[in-house]
Amino acid sequence: MTDAPENDSLFEAPPMGEQERMVEAILFATADPVSVTELIGRMPHGSDPAEALVHLRKRYEGRGVNVVKVGDAWAIRTASDLGFLMQKETVETRKLSRAAIETLAIVAYQQPVTRAEIEEIRGVSVSRGTIDQLIELEWIRFGRRRMTPGRPVTFVVTQGFLDHFGLENARDLPGLKELRSAGLLESRPPPGAALEIDEAEGEDTDQVDMFEDE
């Protein structure tokens, strides 16, 4: 560890073409998205995987497999128009209940969202099993606690969720902009609950940040 940095700096980073090959090999070797940080850690000192990825992504445009961005990580996935060739590989996923699908959508579009908020939106209580199932699928996870009385936990979607639905980012959710401009993503407390309004507004800012800063 101690001598490595000194030695490494004596050598130049590999040429970009080589770096591209390395990123290609690493992404091909795994089923999970690989973060740029991990790429840096695995490639020779001084490498710039972010730039190599730009080249690699271009190289695979229109091919049978593509380089895709998943959150802040990268993966290679088959082109979705070729899914019909892959009946053999198709994973039969457990059919999600309507409650689970709606809960997932609410978490994705309204994140970070508390259980109480999910219930408020759906108008029914959310069963433990629904949340558990989504956590088990690794599509949602616990986010930061709310700074409101009781400090409830919030839920947010995961990288696995983005990967599964082919999203680069939670901002790319279909129809997100329209829903926001229609005011449907605002947390609007029922009239008469005036006291909570301030806090709720604070939280809403949080939510916007989450989408826009990522």
């Binding site: 101690t2 091909f28 070797a29 795994t30 089923a31 999970d32 695995r42 993966a75 290679i76 996935r77 088959t78 082109a79 979705s80 899914g83 892959m86 590989e89 198709t90 994973v91 996923t93 309507r98 409650a99 699908i101 709606e102 997932l104 959508a105 609410i106 994705a108 579009y109 408020e120 939106i121 759906r122 108008g123 029914v124 990967d163 599964h164 639905f165 082919g166 999203l167 959710l173 279909p174 129809g175 829903l179 229609a182 449907l184 609007r188 029922p190 009239p191 008469g192």
Partner: protein
């Protein structure tokens, strides 16, 4: 009301539709879901929906369910009570002395809730319609595990080496620093020392004269040896070997050997 209903439902198809709605109550995901379904019969944009009409529809539905002796979950009944309240608020002229939100505000919020639920349903449908991993696109089939190799290297410098050698070769005069408690005297050491000396102390003697040679000058050593000697004196007194006396507070403490005739 019930008779009215029977008279109203003249056509068989209408009645069947109404019953189907009731029988399907289990399919609704709560009162909000039911309200959303009912609102569709108004065939207008949710933003222009008549909450009053919707409230009436819902109440009629609950009434029908009661007639058919269907068990309705408590939250459906809570919603019915709330809608009945909302309906009265919407119909009666606003009472300026009354506290709380107006009927319009409550109705607007309900409309917002319905619109939001509908929007979330739509979002869910769009989400599920996307290409999905493992169904429409696929991850790598043959994966290679990343082997984690932990390599431990040991280092030592020439200085370590030389000091190590010197340590061994000069063992006789080398003392590890950790044992360097030269300014500490234990009670056991003092006791040991006093047992030997006390035999010669027939007269009253200041205990400070029992401090070991060379320990009186250095403050740290003096403090430690004084404490140890004092503690040892108490121990010896307890054993009946010596007498202790002190004329007043802070005066010198004196000890002497206890002679057999004192008993």
């Amino acid at each position: 009301m019930p008779t009215e209903f029977q008279e109203d439902a003249t056509s068989v198809s209408e009645r069947l539709a109404a019953e189907a709605l009731i029988v399907d109550v289990g399919a609704f995901e709560g009162p909000l879901d039911l309200l959303l379904t009912l609102s569709r019969t108004q065939k207008v944009d949710l933003r222009e929906i008549s909450i009053l009409a919707l409230a009436e529809q819902y109440l009629a539905f609950v009434e029908q369910a009661k007639q058919l002796r269907l068990e309705l979950a408590a939250d459906y009944l809570v919603m019915a009570a709330w809608l009945a309240f909302l309906k009265s608020r919407l119909l009666l002229p606003p009472d300026p002395t009354e506290e709380g939100p107006s009927g319009e505000e409550l109705a607007a919020h309900l409309a917002f809730q319905l619109e939001r639920l509908e929007a979330m349903r739509g979002a869910a449908a769009k989400l599920m319609a996307r290409d999905q991993l493992g169904r429409d696109f696929f991850a790598r089939g043959i994966t290679e595990d990343v082997q984690r190799v932990r390599r431990v290297t040991y280092t030592a410098t020439l200085l370590d080496l030389m000091q190590g050698y010197a340590r061994i070769r000069t063992k006789d005069d080398f003392r590890p620093f950790v044992m360097d408690r030269e300014a500490v005297m234990t009670m056991e050491q003092a006791l040991d020392r006093m047992r030997h000396l006390i035999g010669f102390a027939g007269e009253w003697t200041d205990i400070s004269s029992y401090l070991p040679e060379g320990w009186e000058m250095d403050p740290a050593r003096r403090r430690s040896s004084t404490a140890a000697t004092f503690a040892a004196s108490l121990e010896l007194a307890k054993e009946g070997k010596i007498d202790i006396r002190q004329s007043e507070t802070f005066a010198p403490i004196q000890i002497r050997k206890r002679s057999p005739q004192d008993d």
